[in-house]
Amino acid sequence: MADEVNLTIDGRQITVPKGTLVIEAAKKLGIEIPIFCYHPKMEPVGACRQCLVEIEGFPKPQVSCSTRVADGMVVRTNTPEVKQMWEIVLEFLLINHPLDCPVCDRGGECPLQDNTFRYGPPDSRFEHEKRHFEKPVALSSLVVLDRERCILCFRCVRFQREIADQPDIQVFNRGYGDYIGIFPGRPFDSNFSGNTIELCPVGALLSSVFRFRARPWEMTSTESICPNCGVGCNIRVNARNFRRVVRYLSRDNPEVDGGWLCDRGRFDSTFINDPERLTKPLVRRNGELREATWEEALEAAVDGMKAAGLRAAGIGSANRTNEQNYLFQKFMRLVIGTNNIDYTMEPMAPGGTDALVAGLTSGFFSGSIRDVASSDVIVSFGSDISQELPVLDLWIKKAVRKNGSKLIFAYPLRAELAKYASSFLPYSYGKEAGFAAGLAAAFVGKAPEQAGGLSGDEIESAAKILSEAKIVALLVSRSVIESAPDGMETYRALESLVGTLEARGARVQVMLLVDGANTQGGMDVGLLPGYYPGYRKIDESSCSEIAELWGAEPPPEPGLTGWDVVREARNGGVLALWVMGQDPARDLVRAKEIAEALGKLDFLVVQDYFLTETARMANVVLPSCTFAETKGTFTNTERRVQRINQAIYPMSDSDSDTDIILKAAFTAGAQFEYGRIESIFEEIARVVPQYGGLTFDSIGPFGRQWEVRR
């Protein structure tokens, strides 16, 4: 085939696609070539010269990281000359490298160490003064630089330019005096700066959070999922002595994160071992929260909730696992006897949730993150992706900058992605439906004079881009459907837009963007007042269906939403509330109203890690575990069910949310029996049709998307 070439490396034949780099071909054969500057996700630079090999026909050795294969090429990596070249380059790199490995964070997991052990010279012949720089230098509050250790592979500079497009760092000076730096007074202020630490092949770039906290051989590594946003980036949780989480590292899931993490996620590991963590259950006595035993606390909690009868409610969490949320809603429904369950206390537009559920169950929202990479037009509607789902921002930047995809960015504010947009549509808040309808109308040639606060021209220019599209990725924020007014209308308009596009032969993938790490999962497993698990709208038939599955009958009437609870609490409609893993009293928008409502309650139970604002108001506070101390699954924005694993022992007397609820159910005399976390997941797979057929094992290390049938 013309697109494939044959070559020989160390006497072994291999056929690879045209354009493959020699080093990649060698890797396929299992032949290792030492590298520093080369990185498979970035453009080759050929700067470090570590990967020199002999290629027949070339008078000089060639760098395998930037030489592309040719038919009939004969490459040699196993000759004494090549070994000598690898050795000398390492000797060159080491002449100015301080041998302070014992105090270097990288020591023990350092590519320079590894390559030196394997290919390097036994000794240095350099007998002169090494290069000195002031060190360490703080490039930002998160990244620290040791210039003496730097071997100038430029991976960090290239990452910030090629991938993040936030070129805050650069090489300064020239030649022997080259160093990596920032412009004076302009800190390394990128959302993705942490990746440069992981990319650094020596201990030059260091995390100020991790620095000196542990040596590599002292740490365990546990596969998990970042709990910070809806992207669900795959991470490794590094812990010391099974007690202390010291850092997160990326874990390349090519479908989700591409091996990158944002700083918000990466550096958010310190809360786990925070000394402020709750360690004992607290019960309010004589107006004050006092330490109590678990038995006392649980008894008080259950009694208090039961006393409220039907006027009880529960709020689950977007960063608790599916298992925890599932048990929570089951507990609320069967033991407390209410459908007043939600995953948030933000106000919902009438019919908003129904529109969302319609989209999820009809298969309208069936898109995936990878669709961004393969589409020629990306439409983002209602989300500041760079802040809300940072790693998705990298997917979009790559599509726009590398693949030439066009971006239509609809968001009320000029957010970061606006500058990548071929069409930026700053519609007005609250006019989402009008905007969506306008766009749909413009597309069928009936452009309105103005829509959603935008001029007809603006709408039309976007419609024009769309009309030329063959593959479209439409990313719709949950908020524009669920919480903006007229969500159902917005949804209908989008449906019609997609319908028209498809009728014209375009392929459209629509993905719902949710912000929390497990917002999607929470809804899936039943954290909705109007729906039983699996988006079963509450009615007689679904009630009996669930009753059969559960062996007990759930309340038959739809419950109150989180916001309804806030309103009802103020006039006595709700008397008791159980909050798992949320701090609504510190809500960004409505803290005051919510706190006021919470204050009116007769009884409040809070299950959390810290004594939050909400917990301070509680009658019973139950200390729970973080994701690092437990096991379970998260479902991300593309409906990918991913596993988290236990990395450390629970802190002190805290307990996992699943155990807390199981104990509470037991205290209340209910029969909840699950041998292991897996058993809960097995039940979810039975009860939630979307999860049908999934098991903990079949999810695998990179997760599985639940199927949407259109």
């Binding site: 630079v45 020199l52 000089k60 380059v89 060159f92 100038l152 090489v171």
Partner: protein, 429 residues
């Protein structure tokens, strides 16, 4: 034979009117009106003209690599970043006869289909840059540049771009980076500049001297040019003579002229009547030669056969008093200072060599340093990213090859055996 310096005796030849009077811009007219672009390339190919910047790549071939696709923008960059130690010919060519260069560039642009050309001139050449800009302005006023040149539909804009002090920017791909406003580090090749050069477009990069030859080739024909010099190195070469010679300066000689004639006749022999010790024939980037190599012809092939290279033909001549270690240290320092820092062997190796040479010169060196210097130089040579690394190895390797005993004396006597100035005295001092 004088081609480039033909008009040198004409007073005010830098004035356009004088230049025109002396037959200037006739070649451009001939090319535009009587020749096709391909015809020009053929004439240049036939002339055997090779790049005068140092590498000696056939100019016609370079031009022919440029894709013919008229929808592509193409650029010409004239490399006037003359930074090679011992070389100052381009400066003279620009200052003394700027219109010759403009005419050459215009013909080249016509041949490769470019409408935009840049002269990348080193930052320190402030006067030459000014001179060039004035000449360009005059030529534009007279219709030799600009829109519809000489009534044809050929347009051309030439701009002067000033560097800012970086030897590496004389490397063609680094020059492109510098011109594009990024750090002047060399680029990966492929893609070659002829396919993706300046602003991702096909680009020809030629030295000043190369381009200055073009009008004469067009006017007199490729065969005429090919008849001068040797079979493979055609035409003339401007040699820059400096160091310990009586008459330093630029001399235009036929390719193949013996070095003895250049040093002893044109440059008037060794300063103070001393003996020649060593000379560098092509700027410090080529291996040095000694007295034994005085009968070598000045052309690409003979120089190569003698163990050196023609390079830029910047001669640096050293007399018998010169301490060769000190001279080598001087050149090694140059490369360590000018290494761009992109690749490991050059960045680390050049300064390592300086350290060792310094120790030897100061008398703290060890005997093992000499072989180590050879080893390090051999490991930079051919392994670095660009030719700067290779160049840095040349002074070290050649000086140790020819003067190993002098190095050994430095070590064994714990210091420089040369008295007083070690050959680095003030002229006449």
């Amino acid at each position: 034979m004088r081609i480039l310096f033909k008009h040198l005796d004409v007073p005010d030849i830098d004035d356009m009117d004088v230049y025109i009077r002396e037959g200037g811009y006739k070649a451009l007219e001939k090319a535009l009106k009587e020749m096709s672009p391909d015809g020009v390339i053929q004439a240049v190919t036939k002339s055997g003209l090779r790049g005068r910047g140092g590498a000696g790549f056939p100019t016609g071939k370079k031009w022919a690599f440029i894709p013919k696709d008229p929808s592509l923008k193409k650029y010409l960059c004239c490399n006037a970043d003359e930074s090679e130690p011992g070389t100052f010919k381009d400066r003279e060519l620009i200052v003394r006869n700027p219109h010759q260069l403009i005419e050459g560039m215009a013909i080249c642009c016509y041949a490769i289909g470019s409408e935009r050309a840049f002269i990348y001139i080193r930052g320190e050449y402030i006067e030459p840059a000014r001179k060039m800009e004035q000449a360009i302005a005059k030529a534009s006023n007279r219709g030799f540049l600009g829109e519809r040149i000489l009534g044809t539909d050929f347009n051309l804009q030439i701009q002067v771009y000033r560097g800012a002090g970086a030897y590496i920017c004389g490397e063609e791909s680094a020059l492109l980076n510098s011109l594009e406003g990024i750090r002047g580090e060399p680029r990966l090749r492929p893609p070659f500049p002829a396919i993706k050069g300046l602003y991702e477009s096909p680009t020809v990069i030629n030295n000043v001297e190369t381009l200055a030859n073009v009008p004469h080739i067009v006017l007199n024909g490729g065969e005429w040019f090919a008849s001068i010099g040797t079979e493979k190195s055609t035409g003339t070469k401007v040699v820059s003579m400096s160091g310990h010679v009586n008459n330093p300066g630029n001399y235009e000689v036929d390719m193949g002229t013996p070095v003895r004639e250049i040093i002893f006749e044109h440059a008037g022999g060794i300063l103070g009547g001393k003996r020649l010790k060593a000379y560098v024939p092509g700027g410090s980037s080529v291996p040095m030669l000694t007295e034994k190599h005085l009968d070598v012809g000045l052309d690409f092939e003979s120089m190569l056969a003698a163990g050196s290279m023609l390079g830029s033909a910047g001669f640096m001549v050293m007399n018998e008093d010169t301490c060769i270690v000190r001279a080598t240290l001087n050149m090694a320092r140059f490369y360590a200072h000018e290494s761009c820092g992109k690749c490991t062997p050059c960045r680390e190796g050049t300064s390592w060599m300086v350290e060792m040479l310094e120790s030897i010169e100061e008398g703290t060196g060890k005997m093992g340093y000499i072989d180590r210097l050879v080893d390090i130089a051999n490991n930079i040579n051919g392994r670095s990213f660009c030719a700067l690394g290779d160049a840095s190895a040349m002074p070290v390797l050649s000086s140790i090859e020819h003067f190993r005993d002098e190095y050994e004396t430095h070590v064994s006597e714990r210091g420089c055996p040369f008295a007083g100035d070690r050959g680095f005295a003030l002229r006449g001092g």
